[in-house]
């Protein structure tokens, strides 16, 4: 399974989770087969509109099976689910490893689409 978590920088499992999905600077892509982690840039972060959709596109292109974040806007949610990606909510996790461990432990709840970003 390929799990994507928004990240504040390209780092490692100790890196902080980015508070935003669409406007996250980086995504941590974790492969649960071998616990390997890589970071990719979110090229949608700087776009003037539709960052959530753009970020969902990045995740789909990365062949993600699961995406987890604190919050998903309605358009990002719609795009991710259309790609057949499982969308899970984070709660009080701080670091990438916290999110990944809680995912493995089955502690993350299915996300619902919340209100979108500001315009």
């Amino acid at each position: 399974m390929r799990i994507i978590i928004p990240a504040v920088e390209a780092g490692d499992f100790e890196t902080e989770i980015h508070e935003n999905f669409g406007r996250a600077d980086y995504f941590a892509v974790v492969d649960s087969e071998n616990d390997e982690i890589e970071f990719i840039e979110n090229n949608a972060a700087a776009q003037s509109s539709g960052a959530g959709v753009g970020a969902a596109q990045v995740c789909a292109d990365q062949k993600a099976d699961v995406v987890t974040a604190y919050h998903f806007g309605p358009k990002a949610y719609k795009a991710l689910t259309a790609a057949g990606i499982e969308v899970l909510d984070l709660t009080d996790q701080k670091l990438i490893k916290d999110a990944y461990h809680d995912y493995q432990a089955g502690k993350l709840a299915e996300a619902e689409a919340g209100p979108g970003g500001h315009h």
Partner: protein, 292 residues
């Protein structure tokens, strides 16, 4: 026919007094056309035409793409082209996010398979109530829509230069605001004597200078011990303050009951008339400066 000036009324943030000024000024004059371009939350109608929903209306439409899945080969050219992420490619299907589409039609042009056609979608509405002294127009963006500019563009096609045109603009400094004030002869910026008011006034002034729009300031909720916040700034930057509307419980009460205050407080009808005379003078001054 004699050409009147067009005036836009603007503020840096909502809740500053744009509506108060627009409505009271419009009611103080004859042969006025009031256009409410604050299309995300128009509220001039409360004071001018409370039954506006029942009056004349017309739709503002825009075009959005529709994908023929039988023809689409998932080449992704349209998705890569769209600057606004209104299209996404998910499992070889193109998803359209209609709310963020800017209706540029580019996706249709770049599609090599002719799989994209355009369909109309209602973006908003214009309402119209032609009264004895005021020709009132209101633009309204449909709930959930994000693109206010096309509604304002359509509203502006209704401008009648034989009347004193007053446009109540959306607050702020973004595209809808600029669309509303562009082509007006003069802008009045409403502000309030607080740190927030000053901060937002500065943003608006920067934007107005950028687009070379002539303007002056009206202070709403003016109070003797805090007006200096705005007065000092305006003096330093050579900005005229045309009027102060006092911080008054009576005005607030009337407003909350949907009543204009110009005839409830003595002398205010005359003050608004005088304000308009000054605005016209300022606008003419700018005209002369530009032609020199």
């Amino acid at each position: 026919m004699k050409q009147e000036i067009s005036l836009s009324i603007l503020s840096g943030k909502g809740g500053t007094g744009k509506t108060t000024l627009a409505v009271n000024l419009a009611l103080a004059l004859d042969n006025v056309q009031l256009l409410d371009a604050d299309v995300e939350e128009p509220n001039d109608y409360i004071f001018i035409s409370p039954e506006i929903e029942k009056k004349e209306k017309e739709s503002v439409m825009r075009l959005i793409p529709e994908i023929d899945e039988d023809k689409c080969t998932a080449c992704r050219k349209c998705v890569d082209f769209c600057e606004y992420n209104a299209l996404a490619m998910m499992l070889d299907n193109v998803l359209v996010f209609e709310e963020v589409c800017h209706s540029c039609g580019g996706c249709k042009i770049v599609c090599p398979e002719n799989a994209i056609t355009e369909k109309e979608r209602e973006l908003g509405k214009l309402y119209h109530d032609n009264q004895a002294k005021i020709d009132f127009w209101q633009g309204e963006l449909n709930t959930g829509e994000e693109k206010a500019v096309p509604v304002i563009e359509k509203l502006k096609t209704k401008i009648d230069h034989s009347r004193k045109v007053i446009i109540d603009s959306p607050p702020g400094t973004t595209c809808p605001t600029i669309e509303a004030i562009t082509d007006t002869d003069f802008t009045v910026v409403v502000t309030e004597p607080s740190s927030f008011g000053l901060h937002d006034l500065k943003m608006v002034v920067e934007m107005l200078n950028e687009i070379r729009q002539p303007f002056a300031v009206v202070i709403n909720r003016a109070e003797a011990d805090s007006d200096y916040l705005i007065e000092d700034y305006c003096q330093e930057n050579e900005i005229n303050i045309l009027l102060k509307i006092p911080f008054s419980r009576k005005i607030a009460e009337l407003y909350s009951n949907g009543k204009p205050f110009l005839d409830e407080l003595e002398g205010w009808r005359a003050k608004f008339k005088e304000l308009y005379r000054e605005i016209r003078e300022e606008a003419a001054k700018d005209e002369r400066n530009n032609s020199n």
